[in-house]
Symmetry: C2
Subunit: 337 residues, 2 copies
């Protein structure tokens, strides 16, 4: 696919124009556009502008309501529960992590929940947001059901992404993982290329583990990461977001086949308020240094979570964000029409 | 192996006598014995009396100090940090989860950390403890390094067990998972039986994924659950316990080759204080019912985390706890000598 390289600010401005035309107020359009552009800037191309037209489609269908902001339902000490009121998922999530950061700075730790929210697009954004604010951030969401539980022959679990972010002056450590071994987007790409997955990525319709993206896309039975273990963890994350937010569980999200009305949790620790700064930086640095010092099998290398993001970000900020040419033309047309 | 069936109370009493002979005060001996016996009662035979003589050996060597209780280092709102002072790991962990429960009942949510503690034996005990107190409990620990990171050819990560427990009147939902796909104990058993693992469980010395327990026990390269994903999660859990407790990281734990001086975190949410009880029970019940209603591949069934524990517990309480005959004789000798 042909690509153009677009300067980050240019990408944000173009997306902002598109969003304003969809009824976004300017401030919210800028923030929403920035969150989309950050995904591409950081190399998470599956959840940046590649999702933008689907996002606009959800607005047209009334599933995402541009002007709706989260509404406080309950506040108990360091925990706040919000109704996301079907607002844009990324703006709602950014708001929620901001509140979690503020509460952690007052109380030491905090939790903020969202019910009735939408897909937050790139999960990692909200981890980087916490780490940029010098906080430890943990957040997770449920999704529509897209994986079987262990032994099951139909999707019953969401791939429920989990983010854990640790601030560090020489580069935050940020894990951004869904509970499926491979993303459906990755499997689509492998299928188009006629390639097999490098490891088993799901079940075929007979319940056999397979590396064939075609078979998995047909069965819709993506493999939970770590098999029974990821299946268990996915279920627990769904129960946690549902119980803590009072919102929908994966089974309720999926009832009409559309991924909306999600539940999310944002947990934050402020190392300053909790007096952890004396050792924090040096301990993390030594853990990362030890990991990076690992002997490796030939032609392999080791990375810490988030390391590659910084490398890609630097490169993309320098050379421009790579965008599919056709998609970029569509964005330009929409932003100026 | 021949087994005897020992009534639960009898097992606790025998272990208690053994511990008193090792210098435990009576109250602490009873609690420590109960925690060991609970593991066997619930079917987690790898971390019950099978670990008891190793535990006694650690006492003899001075790694575990029977009378040492956790000492409060810092208290900031809903978070408390303790020095475990090399006390018995299971007693320290039980104490820490108790404090987390108490703090959650005051504040809604809480975190308690332990530095300088020892192996907590069966991780799930402390999840069931929180759930029995009607709280949501999350706890995790680091361990000695026993897994490679993704691409690495030497153990650099711990298998860092993670527990998430949700209370429910018709049976708590409790996930108790280590970050390795298979426990070394399980691989030992498979090796003794001359069996292969059902799925890849680690790397051989050439870096190839293998089902051979023999090869994995030789290379000491157990597979992180979900490959790169479990490796990432293991690292994040190690950073979290280390930073939040101020204690040792996995790399420091392993320095002298002995698994001691661990770091642990216990997080608790009180659904009553947080006003979650209106929907909590019904939401969890419907999630579990939906999971259990999953269609399955032939000869398969689906379970929720913790389901099997209750079945085994009921059976073992009725028929007696199965203990290896030789081990039971050793315990009897020790308790009466």
């Amino acid at each position: 696919m042909e690509q153009v390289r677009i300067p980050f600010e240019n990408l944000v401005a173009t997306l902002t124009s598109c969003l304003i035309k969809q009824g976004f107020e300017q401030d919210r359009a800028i923030r929403c556009a920035t969150l989309f552009a950050q995904a591409d800037r950081d190399g998470v191309y599956s959840h940046g502008v590649n999702r933008f037209f689907l996002f606009l489609d959800f607005i047209k269908k009334g599933f995402v309501i541009p002007q709706n902001e989260p509404e406080l339902i309950a506040q108990i000490g360091m925990m706040e529960r919000y109704d996301g009121r079907s607002g844009p998922g990324n703006l709602n999530a950014e708001f929620a992590m901001d509140r979690a950061i503020e509460l952690a700075k007052s109380f030491g730790m905090s939790a903020v929940t969202l019910m009735n929210t939408n897909h937050w697009m790139r999960a990692g954004n909200f981890g980087w947001q916490a780490a940029d604010a010098h906080c430890i951030g943990i957040c997770f969401t449920n999704t529509i059901s897209n994986m079987p539980t262990w032994g099951g022959s139909e999707p019953k679990l969401g791939n429920n992404p989990l983010v854990i972010a640790i601030p560090r002056s020489s580069g935050h450590v940020v894990l951004d993982m869904a509970m499926s071994q491979f993303a459906y987007g990755k499997m689509e790409i492998a299928k188009k290329k006629g390639e097999q997955l490098p490891f088993d990525g799901g079940f075929d319709s007979n319940g056999n583990l397979t590396k064939s993206p075609e078979d998995i896309l047909f069965s819709h039975l993506a493999l939970p990461t770590g098999m029974w273990k990821g299946a268990g963890l996915s279920l627990m994350l769904d129960i946690l977001v549902t119980v803590l937010s009072g919102g929908n569980s994966t089974m309720e999200v999926g009832k009409d086949g559309i991924e909306k009305g999600l539940s999310q949790v944002f947990i934050c620790f402020d190392p300053v308020k909790l007096n952890l700064t004396e050792w924090m930086e040096s301990k993390i640095d030594s853990i990362i240094a030890d990991l990076k010092s690992s002997s490796v099998f030939e032609d392999k290398s080791v990375r810490y979570p988030g390391e590659q993001v910084l490398q890609i970000r630097e490169s993309n900020l320098k050379s421009g964000i790579p965008i599919n040419t056709e998609l970029w033309d569509k964005l330009l047309t929409l932003s100026t029409s």
